[in-house]
């Protein structure tokens, strides 16, 4: 893992501490997609995901003056993401698991010319998203950080303040739970040996 002193984002953050708006905008553009997708997978609502992503970056700016580079910038950033999601969960009780693709951020990806296949694809994606949203809190965030934020186990352990062994166990259990929930979908009905 690269040492955080050599992390270029740490340098950007130090410029943000001096109210360098250009540096801040650069950080936002670099991490906005990763953050919004993490939050979207966690909440299941794209509109809420964008609103919470804004909250994350506003917090980043406010905390800039007190920022001390004790780890990689992404580790620190996703600690804020974790806190924002936890506050949202506490505030909302349970969040809306309905995907609303009409409002707010739009689904990226290649456009399908076949409406039926588009519909089926959306159906499958909604089922997968719902299955993720139904995971227990302790299993959901580690899986989301690992799969959708491409974060390694060690960094997930720092962000979530867990041991490495705990992260391994939780990710494995999350995957087994999803396998069970999605067993009705075709990919699992035709599982073969490798």
């Amino acid at each position: 893992m690269e040492r955080f002193e050599q992390d270029p984002d740490v340098g950007l953050m130090q410029r943000v501490a001096k109210e360098d708006r250009a540096a801040f905008e650069e950080l936002v553009l670099k991490y906005q997609k990763k953050v919004i997708n993490t939050i979207y997978r966690y909440t299941g609502n794209p509109g809420v995901a964008e609103e919470l992503t804004q909250d994350v970056f506003v917090r980043v700016y406010r905390a800039a003056k007190n920022y001390r580079p004790e780890a990689r910038f992404s580790t620190w950033l996703f600690t804020i993401v974790r806190n924002v999601c936890a506050n949202y969960r506490t505030r909302e009780g349970k969040y809306d698991r309905q995907m609303d693709s009409e409002a707010g951020p739009q689904l990226a990806g290649p456009a399908q010319h076949n409406p039926e296949s588009d519909y089926q694809r959306k159906e499958v994606q909604q089922k997968i998203q719902q299955a993720i949203a139904e995971l227990p809190e302790s299993l959901r965030m580690p899986l989301v950080l690992n799969h959708f934020s491409q974060m390694q186990y060690e960094e997930i352990a720092r962000v979530l303040n867990l041991s490495l062994a705990a992260v391994k166990v939780r990710i494995h259990r999350a995957r087994l739970a999803l396998v069970e929930k999605l067993s009705a979908l075709n990919p699992y009905a035709e599982a073969t040996d490798d």
Binding site: E50, A191, D194
Partner: protein, 215 residues
Amino acid sequence: MNTPHLEEGLSAYLSGELDASERKLAEAHLRECRECSERLSQLRKLHDLLSTQTEIEPSQGFAKRVISRIDADQNVVRFRTKRILGWALEAAAVILFVLFLARYDRYAVKPGEIVHQTPPRVIKKVAPPSPKPAPKVIVKQAPHQIKPPLPQPIPAPQSAVAPAPEQPAQPQLSAEDAEMIANLDELENMDVIRDYDNVQNMDVALIQSEEEHIR
């Protein structure tokens, strides 16, 4: 081979979290354990399925909106700070004004109030001794009598001592004049005494009233 199943090691193997030696052991186990192999297959398909999930993009101008929100928050903070400072200054001014009024009122003279710049002193007046009335000099005229002439004075023998300076001759007053003068003196003395007593009484009255006030 009777090695334990890989369990969470499967996910770690799938995620590329095992080091070289751990990966070799895992692969050796997978070659011999059907159950773990089937499990790994399921996990791989899940991984592929999750990877088909379409990512979302932030709406256009997201970064600018974040910066606008930060500016708006800072303006709110500045406005609130100014407002709080304004209130604090107003409160301080009111407090100073109230203190000023309280201090002014303390020294203000109310109608009918006796002002004592310094604590009043109890003045004890010692009554002066009453002046003795002047002796009455009344010359009473004896009935007319022929008095024998007074003997002529015998001239004193001359001595070395210088003679005393001559004193002016005293005017000779008649008996009536002498009586009138004596009476006038008496009257004057009586007026003085009376006035003096009146003044003295007034002072006593004033002192008494002051003492009552103090009490």
